[in-house]
Symmetry: C2
Subunit: 266 residues, 2 copies
Amino acid sequence: MSFNENFENGIVILGAGNVATHLSIALTNAGFKIKCIYSKTITAAKTLALQVDSHYTNEITQIPVEADLYIIAVKDEIINEIVKNIQLKYGIIVHTAGSIPMDVFKGQFENYGVFYPLQTFSKSRNIDYSNIPICIESNTQILEEKLVKLAKRLSRSVHIVDSEKRKILHLAAVFACNFSNHMFSIATEIMNQSGIPFDLLKPLIAETAQKAIDTDPEKAQTGPAVRNDQNVIQNHLEMLKDNVEFEKIYRFVSESIYKMNQKKNK
Amino acid sequence: MSFNENFENGIVILGAGNVATHLSIALTNAGFKIKCIYSKTITAAKTLALQVDSHYTNEITQIPVEADLYIIAVKDEIINEIVKNIQLKYGIIVHTAGSIPMDVFKGQFENYGVFYPLQTFSKSRNIDYSNIPICIESNTQILEEKLVKLAKRLSRSVHIVDSEKRKILHLAAVFACNFSNHMFSIATEIMNQSGIPFDLLKPLIAETAQKAIDTDPEKAQTGPAVRNDQNVIQNHLEMLKDNVEFEKIYRFVSESIYKMNQKKNK
C-alpha cells in the first residue's frame, strides 16, 4: 500500500511553534485534514489542535502510523531525534527547515522531502500564505510532483530548490530578515534612550523595504556611508561610544556599504 | 519689512538632488511658488526648475534676495559655504539636514531654522509626502509656528525637534534605513552568486518591515541568532569564509541579537 495522492488519510504535524501553527492553519483552510499535532509541550499541541480540529499528543509513540504526510516543523536540533523515533507505514515525511539537508531522512524512510516556507512567522500575526515562496525538494520525481501540487494549493509561489541552494537561501534570509530587523531594534533602542517615539521611524522603514522590493537595494542605498561622509560618520561613532556593540556594528556596516558601492562603480 | 507669512514672495531651493527634488514638488503641489532653484550643476538645476516652473541658476550671487524662504537641501559639507555666501533681505533660511545643528546659521541671519523630512528619497521614485515626518526647529517661537504651518500643508506628521534630538533621530534612521538596506544588499549578493532570483526574498522583506511597524522589532526577532542555534550559525560562518566582510557582519550582528535578547529576558 502507498500513500494517498490527495493526502486523504490525513496529515500529521510535528511541532506546535510559529511555523507549525501557520502551516497547519493554511493546510486546513486549503481543505486538508490535520490528523494529529505532536509536540513535547502538551499545552502547545492542544492549543494548535483546537484551532485545526485535530487530535494531539506529546508521545511520539502515539502518533498515527497510517497518515499520508508527516511534516516536521520543530527546532533544527530536534529533527534528528524525531527521525530516529517516529514510526510510519507508507506516508511521506518532510521537514520545513532551511539549513537541514534532505539527507537527514536517507536510509530511514522510503518517501521523503523538504517543504520550506520562506517567511518569518509569529503565532500572533495573521499571514497570507498565498504569496509565501514554498521551496520543495524530494527523493523521487513522482513525490516531488505530489508535494508541488500540495504546495500550490497553499501558495502561488512554489519552487524546486535542492538542499545546497536552500542553505544559501536560508543564509540570505537571515541577512534580509533577522539582521535587518536587528537594525530596526537598534534604532528603537537609540530612540527609546532619548524618549523619541519609535513611530517617527515607521514611514522610513516602510519606504526602505518597499524601495528594496521595487528596485535593487544596492542601487537604492542612501545616507552618510555610501557618500563616505566622514563628518557625519565620526559624529555618529562618537555618539555611540558608550555602546561598544552598536559602535562596532556601525563601523563595520558603514565600511561594508562604502566598499560595496566602490566595487559597483568600478 | 519682514517676510510674508504665506511665503507669497516665493521660496528659493538650494540644491537639486533627491531631497530638493521631492520637497520642491511637494511645495508646488501644496500651492507654494518656487521662485528659484540653485545648484552648482546647472543641468540639475534646470531639470528640477522645469518640473516646478521656476527660475534657476548656478551662481549664488544670482539668487533673488527678496524671497520669503530659502531651503538649503544640499550635501552637509556644502551648507557652510552657502551660509557664508548667500545674500537675503528678510527671508527665513532653513536647512534639511539631520546631523547639522541649527546654530550653523547663528550670527549670520535674523530668521532661521531647520526643516528635516525624515525619509529616504530617490529622484526616480514617487513618494507620498503627506505621511513623511517633518521635524521643525527655529530660533524664535513665531517663526517656529510659521514653519509648522507650512509643514502641515505638506504632511500630517509635523514635529518640533531640537538639534540634539534631531541628531539622535538621524543616527537611528541610519540604522533603520541605510543599514537594514545593506542587509538586503548582502542578501542580494549571496543570492546572485548562486543564481537564485532575489524575488524569492521579497515577501520576507515586506513582512519583516511590516512586523517591525506593527509590533516591537525586538519582540519580533526570529532566526538562529536569537535562538542561539550554534549549529546553523557556525554553518553560515563557514559558508561566508571567503568573504571576510560579510563574515564579520554576520558574527557581530548575531552576537548583538543574542545579547539584546538576553538583556530583554533578564
